[in-house]
């Protein structure tokens, strides 16, 4: 009888040891991969809106928990808002990405140029008649 009780206790402890950490380790992304996949597979307005909502939720949850959102989430959210013409909000979120991750500054500056529709994408020059891009092509890897 005593042995049975001991086994029960061990089983309960094992269960808690496994389940509690799993519950606590909720991904900060919260379904990002599958949402992006749906958007890429069927880029319908509904799927695009759903992905945008998911990004907003990830940012909201991070704000609520007073942690920074995962890398790239503010950038992606801001960029998508910018493509919808919501330029002011887009700029806010793109700036937030740089605040959270200063190493993203160069990349975000490219995104800002696209959403603001000014200049060439990969340089600060204004529109030029030269349509060649700025990315140097080397040998294929």
């Amino acid at each position: 009888m005593k042995t049975n009780m001991k086994l029960d206790s061990i089983a309960a402890l094992c269960f808690l040891a496994i389940v509690i950490p799993l519950g606590a380790c909720r991904s900060p992304y919260d379904g990002y991969g599958s949402s992006l996949y749906r958007q890429l597979k069927k880029p319908t307005p509904e799927n695009q809106a759903a992905h945008l909502n998911l990004l907003a939720k990830v940012i909201e949850r991070a704000d609520r928990n007073q942690v920074r959102p995962p890398p790239g989430v503010c950038a992606e959210y801001g960029y998508n808002l910018g493509l919808l013409g919501r330029t002011a909000e887009a700029t806010d979120y793109l700036d937030r990405e740089v605040q959270h991750y200063p190493e993203s500054e160069t990349f975000v500056s490219v995104l800002k140029r696209i959403v603001s529709g000014r200049g060439r994408i990969l340089s600060d020059q204004e529109h030029s008649s030269d349509s060649s891009n700025d990315l140097d092509r080397g040998a294929d890897r």
Partner: protein, 237 residues
């Protein structure tokens, strides 16, 4: 009297706990290759740009769907990862398509324009289903190369495969019936097995061999260990 299911549950849970403890012990005791780590951290990439994957398969959509799988596990390894769909979009605006053309771009140029410390090149070698009449196998094979954009040198490589077997029907003694059942089973397995979760699992598994980045919880401890190893190596010389 203890019921059989309770006893079974107890046994299973105890075994799971033992396996977890064993794994924890193994990982904590395994000594890392400090020389390789030291070389890697001499570069210490912080920002990684994943280029659209090069497709060696017949599935034209594989690189597009693969994009949804790689960002998250790289972030979990402690790196700043530029969102893959945004990188693809910028490249497309520059006239560079998803078909692997981005691989011709000079890494220095990606450092200058994107601020990327490293570029991750992924080749999709397999993204298909192999049928063998009565069985099928869904396969994903990926090859990874991480390149330092400052020097153009390769700093990490890996390769891995994930397979899901299906359709191995047991024999009923009737060859024709077995053939039909097996073929249906194989087709169902192939149709219902999605490549994307397989690719996600493979990414997560393979990226465990990538040294942790600056945002990873193990990074600081590892740096201390490498410093101690360097000092010990110098003292021994």
């Amino acid at each position: 009297m203890k019921s059989p299911w309770k006893r079974r549950l107890t046994t299973v849970l105890c075994r799971v706990l033992l396996v977890l403890l064993g794994a924890q012990l193994f990982w904590s005791c395994a000594s890392p290759d400090y020389r390789a780590l030291s070389d890697y951290y001499a570069v210490e990439p912080k920002t990684i740009c994943v280029l659209p994957a090069r497709n060696m398969t017949t599935d034209a959509e594989a690189p597009l769907f693969y994009m949804a799988t790689i960002g998250q596990p790289l972030v979990y390894r402690g790196y700043y990862v530029m969102p893959t769909p945004l990188v693809a979009d910028i490249l497309a605006r520059e006239g560079i398509d998803l078909d692997g053309e981005s691989w011709t771009v000079d890494p220095h140029s990606m450092r200058e324009h994107f601020g990327a410390d490293a570029l991750l090149y992924v080749t999709i070698e397999e993204w298909d289903t192999v049928y063998n009449v009565l069985s099928s196998s869904v396969n994903v094979t990926l090859d990874y190369t991480l390149v330092d954009t400052a020097s153009g040198e390769t700093i990490w490589t890996a390769r891995g495969t994930r397979r899901v077997q299906g359709g191995n029907a047991t024999s009923s003694g009737n060859f024709l019936a077995d053939l039909v059942v097996g073929a249906i089973d194989a087709a169902v397995t192939a149709a219902t097995t999605d490549y994307v979760p397989l690719a996600s699992e493979l990414n997560t598994e393979i990226l465990q061999s990538l040294p942790p980045g600056v945002y990873h919880t193990d990074h600081e401890r590892l740096q201390k260990e490498i410093t101690a190893w360097r000092q010990e190596s110098q003292a021994n010389q």
